[in-house]
C-alpha cells in the first residue's frame, strides 16, 4: 500500500490493456460511421454520434458484465478482469457523450429546461410502446456516473467496502434499465428484427453466464471439505498446487486461495479488498494425519486450513 494516493497506478500491463481498448474503440467508431455514411449518406453528424456512442457503450457494458462470470468459469479470462475499472469509466464517458448529444438534439429546442423536457416531453407513462424511454436512460446514466466517480481506491477506503460494493452492484439495475431504454426506444421505431435479435442474444449471454457462474459457485460451496481436526480442515494435497501458482478452495463457504512459492505455502481469502478479506491460517502435514481420501505413507503431504485468522500465515512444507 502506497503512502499517498496516485491518480492512476500505471504499469506496463495496464497501459497495454488501455491501448488495446482505445484502439478497438476507435476502430468501432470509424467502422460504424463509415457504414452509416455508406448506406445513409444523408445522415447528419449528430445522428451518427448519437447512434455510434449508444451502440458502443451498450456493447461495452455487455462485455464488462460478462468478464466477472467468465473469470469464475474459466481462469484464462482473468487478464480481461485486470483493468475492468478503466473499461467501466471509459464506457461511462461514451454513454455521457450519447446522452449529451441526445438531450441537445431532442430536448434543447423548446423553451423548457432540457432536463425537465426529458421527463415531460412525452407523458405516456401508462403506455408500453410509447413509454418515455429517455427516463430509463437518464437513471441508468446516473448510476453509471456514481460508479465511475467512485472508481478510485480513495472511495473504496473512505466509503467502506459495504457501501462501495453496494453502489457498484447497482450496475445490474442500470443494465436492466438500459435494456428497457433500448427496447422501448429505438426498437419500437425500427421495422427490422435484427436489433431485437441482437439485444436478445446479448441479454441471454449476460444472464446465462451469470447463472452458470452462480451454479458453479454453489457446487463448490456444497462440496464437503475433509473433517476438521483441532480446527484445521484438510483441503487438498500439497502436490496439487503448482509452484508459483495458487489453488482456490472453499471451506465453510469461504473462498480461500492457497499459494505455493519459494517452497512455502501461504493462504489468504480469495477476495479483493472491496470484499472484506481476511487472512486464514494454513499448515501442511504428512498424509498420515487424518485426511480422508489420501493414502497413508505415500510421502504426500496434505494442506490443512483453519479459517479465519487476522494474520497471514506462512509455513514450510
Amino acid at each position: 500500500m502506497s503512502v499517498n494516493y496516485a491518480p492512476i497506478l500505471w504499469n506496463r500491463q495496464k497501459k497495454r490493456y488501455d491501448r488495446i481498448m482505445l484502439g478497438l474503440i476507435a476502430l468501432y467508431l470509424i467502422l460504424f460511421a463509415a457504414f452509416q455514411l455508406l448506406f445513409r449518406p444523408e445522415i447528419s453528424p449528430e445522428t451518427i454520434i448519437i447512434r455510434a456512442t449508444a451502440t458502443l457503450a451498450f456493447l461495452m457494458l455487455h462485455l464488462i458484465l460478462m468478464i466477472g462470470p467468465l473469470c469464475r468459469l474459466d481462469h484464462r479470462f482473468l487478464p480481461l478482469l485486470y483493468n475492468r475499472r478503466h473499461l467501466g469509466v471509459t464506457m461511462f464517458l461514451i454513454a455521457l457523450i450519447h446522452a449529451t448529444f441526445s438531450i441537445i438534439q431532442f430536448h434543447a429546442l423548446g423553451d423548457v429546461n432540457p432536463l425537465v423536457s426529458v421527463f415531460t416531453s412525452n407523458i405516456n407513462y401508462q403506455s408500453v410502446s410509447q413509454f418515455p424511454f429517455q427516463v430509463f436512460g437518464f437513471f441508468a446514466l446516473l448510476i453509471l456516473f456514481l460508479m465511475a466517480a467512485t472508481s478510485h481506491d480513495f472511495w473504496l477506503d473512505n466509503l467502506g467496502p459495504r457501501i462501495w460494493k453496494s453502489l457498484h452492484m447497482m450496475v445490474y439495475f442500470a443494465y436492466a434499465l438500459l435494456v428497457m431504454h433500448v427496447l422501448l426506444g429505438v426498437l419500437q421505431q425500427e421495422g427490422y428484427p435484427a436489433g431485437a435479435a441482437l439485444l436478445g442474444v446479448g441479454m441471454a449471454a449476460v444472464t446465462g453466464l451469470h447463472l452458470a457462474a452462480a451454479i458453479k459457485g454453489k457446487r463448490m460451496e456444497d462440496r464437503p471439505a475433509g473433517t476438521a481436526a483441532d480446527g484445521f480442515v484438510p483441503v487438498c494435497r500439497v502436490d496439487e498446487i503448482l509452484e508459483n501458482r495458487a489453488k482456490v478452495v472453499i471451506i465453510r463457504q469461504e473462498n480461500i486461495a492457497i499459494f505455493k512459492y519459494d517452497g512455502k505455502l501461504s493462504a489468504v481469502n480469495n477476495v479483493c479488498k472491496h470484499q472484506n478479506y481476511r487472512w486464514v491460517k494454513a499448515r501442511s502435514s504428512t498424509a498420515a494425519s487424518p485426511a480422508p481420501g489420501t493414502a497413508t505413507n505415500t510421502g504426500r503431504k496434505t494442506v490443512s486450513l483453519r479459517p479465519p485468522l487476522q494474520k497471514r500465515s506462512l509455513l514450510t512444507m
Binding site: 452492484m169 436492466a176 428497457m180 421505431q189 459457485g217
Partner: protein, 152 residues
C-alpha cells in the same frame, strides 16, 4: 467473493433472469405495426414529370406541394431546406384540422435536407381540403400543422 456477496449476486441474477426476458417479450409484443412506408420505397418512387400542382404550403424549413398527373396518379413533393430539427418525425396529411394522427394519413418519414416524393393514393388526393402536420416519434407530439392552399 465472500459468501454474502456471492448470494447477493445469485439472487440478483435469478430475479433478473426472470424479469429481463419478461420485459423483453412485453416490449416486443407491444411494438406498433409498421405504419410508415419504407424509406427505400419513397426513394424509388418513379419521377412524375407531368404533374399539376393541386395545393401547396410553405414554411421556413420546408415547401410541400401536392401534385396530380393526368393518369390519376398523385404524390406529395416535399423540399426540406434545413435538416429536420426533430429527426425522427413523420409527415401526416389529414382531411380536417386538429393534427390527430389517427384521423390523418401517415405519408412518410421526414428526411434531412433534399427533395422527397411521397406517393399518394387517389382517394387521399381527392380530399376537399388538406391539412399537413408532422408527428415527432420520439416525443409523441404533433407540430407545425398547416393547411395546404389550393392552386388556381
Amino acid at each position: 467473493m465472500i459468501l454474502k456477496l456471492r448470494n447477493r449476486h445469485r439472487y440478483t441474477w435469478i430475479v433478473l433472469g426472470l424479469l429481463l426476458p419478461a420485459g423483453f417479450a412485453l416490449g416486443l409484443a407491444c411494438r406498433p405495426g409498421p405504419v410508415l412506408p419504407n424509406e427505400e420505397l419513397i426513394r424509388e418512387a418513379p419521377l412524375y414529370s407531368e404533374g399539376q400542382a393541386v395545393a401547396s404550403a410553405m414554411d421556413e424549413d420546408w415547401n410541400i406541394t401536392l401534385y396530380r398527373a393526368p393518369d390519376g396518379q398523385a404524390w406529395l413533393e416535399a423540399q426540406f431546406t434545413k435538416a429536420a430539427q426533430r429527426p425522427v418525425s413523420t409527415l401526416y396529411l389529414a382531411p380536417q384540422s386538429g393534427a390527430v394522427p389517427a384521423r390523418g394519413k401517415a405519408i412518410g418519414p421526414v428526411g434531412p435536407r433534399g427533395i422527397y416524393r411521397y406517393p399518394l393514393d387517389s382517394l387521399t388526393a381527392s380530399w376537399p381540403e388538406y391539412y399537413l402536420f408532422f408527428y415527432d416519434q420520439v416525443r409523441h407530439q404533433a407540430y407545425s400543422e398547416t393547411q395546404l392552399t389550393k392552386s388556381r
